[in-house]
């Protein structure tokens, strides 16, 4: 049995890393907002989804205009990523302004309901527009970056099979690494990043330091939503087909990843996302084998979540928790 698990391990790693990278960036959005407002921004999964639709719509439009053929594909993708993230960034800011800020002083549960409302609204809006324009709410983008590569794990040891990946997987992973390193730098090394951390730790006192708390909250939503939207585009390019409901389950899993890493902790969210992606792909590849055929790959989520629950039972604050115990 071990031999068979080892055989598929390289492919599990590649696929798990790709999926985990997506979870990780979305988890960042949840964790940043939670860190600052103690709010589970349920609509964040839908921002990711909207980003995917905006990206694919742009790519389809650009194909129609003949631009996609006229410029290097990577340049087109970068353009789409930038435009999409700016749009979803402002969308996040708008959602906070209209749906959350007026409820800032009401119980958290009320704001949560508002967030769920925004989720449904976005799902239906995207569905309506897509159906109206295309007659179908399932959308397939132009095929890009589909070249296959093999990493010759078999040449390292015959107990491994080769792992295959597409150019898009490489682009996905590189982009995610850039986003994560960029965000980490911003939050830990810049003045506005420091303001974000200060507001997350003590909003009232931050305002005594001349910090416009509302501005920092807007900035947080902008960054989280921009990254989420860009990830939507990368998701669409990687997996091809999207529908208005991809944000729900993916968002739920990314949120779980954020909890796993320690909600509010940015590096934790990154690690939690990658871990969840790897677990899920491992389960998909090996569950049948491990359970003697009782459970198939379709139970991968149960397996992944069972592991998460076990981790959280022993470490309820998440793997990375909060860095310091506080003296009051």
């Amino acid at each position: 049995m071990l031999a068979e698990i080892l055989q598929t391990l390289p492919q599990v790693l590649v696929d798990g890393l790709a999926l985990g990278a997506i979870y990780a960036v979305i988890a960042l959005g949840y964790t940043m907002v939670y860190g600052i407002l103690e709010l589970i921004n349920f609509a964040h999964g839908e921002i990711f989804m909207t980003g995917a639709f905006i990206g694919v719509a742009m790519l389809i439009l650009m194909t129609g205009l003949g631009w996609l053929a006229a410029m290097p594909a990577i340049l087109a993708l970068i353009l789409v990523l930038v435009v999409t993230s700016i749009l979803t960034g402002f969308m996040g800011v708008g959602i906070e302004r209209m749906a959350y800020r007026p409820l800032r002083n009401s119980p958290k549960l009320i704001t949560l309901i508002s967030a769920i409302g925004v989720s449904f609204l976005l799902q239906d809006l995207v569905r309506f527009i897509t159906e109206y324009k295309r007659g179908n709410y399932i959308l397939t983008g132009p095929s890009m970056f589909n070249e296959q590569f093999a990493i010759k794990f078999s040449s390292i040891s015959s107990s491994f099979s080769d792992a295959f990946f597409k150019t898009s997987t490489l682009i996905l992973i590189i982009s995610v690494v850039i986003m994560m390193v960029g965000l980490d730098f911003f939050v830990n090394k810049t003045k506005w990043g420091m303001a974000m951390r200060a507001v997350a730790q003590d909003r009232e006192t931050a305002s005594l330091m001349s910090i416009n708390v509302n501005k920092v909250i807007s900035l947080t939503f902008f960054i989280g939503s921009a990254l989420g939207g860009a990830t939507g585009v990368l998701f669409a390019v990687q997996y091809g087909t999207i529908d208005p409901y991809i944000g729900f389950i993916l968002g739920l899993k990314a949120f779980t990843a954020a909890v796993l890493g320690g909600i509010g902790n940015i590096r934790g969210a990154m690690a939690g996302g990658i871990m969840l992606g790897l677990l899920e792909m491992f389960a998909a590849a090996n569950l049948q084998l491990l359970t003697g055929g009782i459970f198939g790959a379709e139970y991968k989520d149960v397996f992944a979540f069972a592991i998460l629950i076990i981790v959280l039972i022993f470490k309820p604050e998440g793997l990375f928790g909060k860095a310091v115990t506080e003296k009051v």
Binding site: M194, Q201, M209, S210, V213, A323, T325, K327
Partner: protein
Amino acid sequence: MSILQLKDVNTFYGGIHALKGISISVEKGEIVTLIGSNGAGKSTTLKTISGQVMPKTGSVIYEGKDISKQPAHLTAQTGIAHVPEGRRIFPRLTVKENLEMGAFIVKDKRIVKERMEKVFQYFPRLQERLSQKGGTMSGGEQQMLAIGRALMSKPRLLLLDEPSMGLAPVIVEQIFDIISDLNKEGMTILLVEQNAYQALQVAHRGYVIQTGEIVMAGQGQELITNEQVREAYLA
């Protein structure tokens, strides 16, 4: 002209009438103390000044301008630094970052550095702890950091909310010495304290607040010897 004047200020928390027509003034260069027991409205007075809560009626005049409806982050920019009750250090920022937060609006890094050097003259201990997380410091160190952080904005008016709270007598002594030193160098200070004796010792003038109302006012020494004050706050 007073640097700060509160005129008939009424502040509410929902239905709770916390300040009932407070009028006080602080002259440039003074230490004024506001003493009173738990729940009297001391912190609320400072919060009303710094803009953390808005008064329902009445005015807060700072350097001739009514700031009663001004949000906290703007008031902080105009030279009022508020050291809140319980110090409120950012626990997961380092000491250095906490200090930098105090000078958030200062763009020039050199000026930030200069001010930090000045803070170290008052609190050499902070310099040794620059990379320590704020939340892991001792109570006394945190109070020093909170005052240091406020000084980083180079305020013209310093609001201190119970700086001696929960500290050992030796440290309390140090803190009051520094308050006194700061004042000698020209800082105007409004000091809220439950430690009435020491507060009245360093202050030029004092007010006594009781359930949201000013019930007495006078020179520091005058209040120390006052029978009622002695009974209620110095016993």
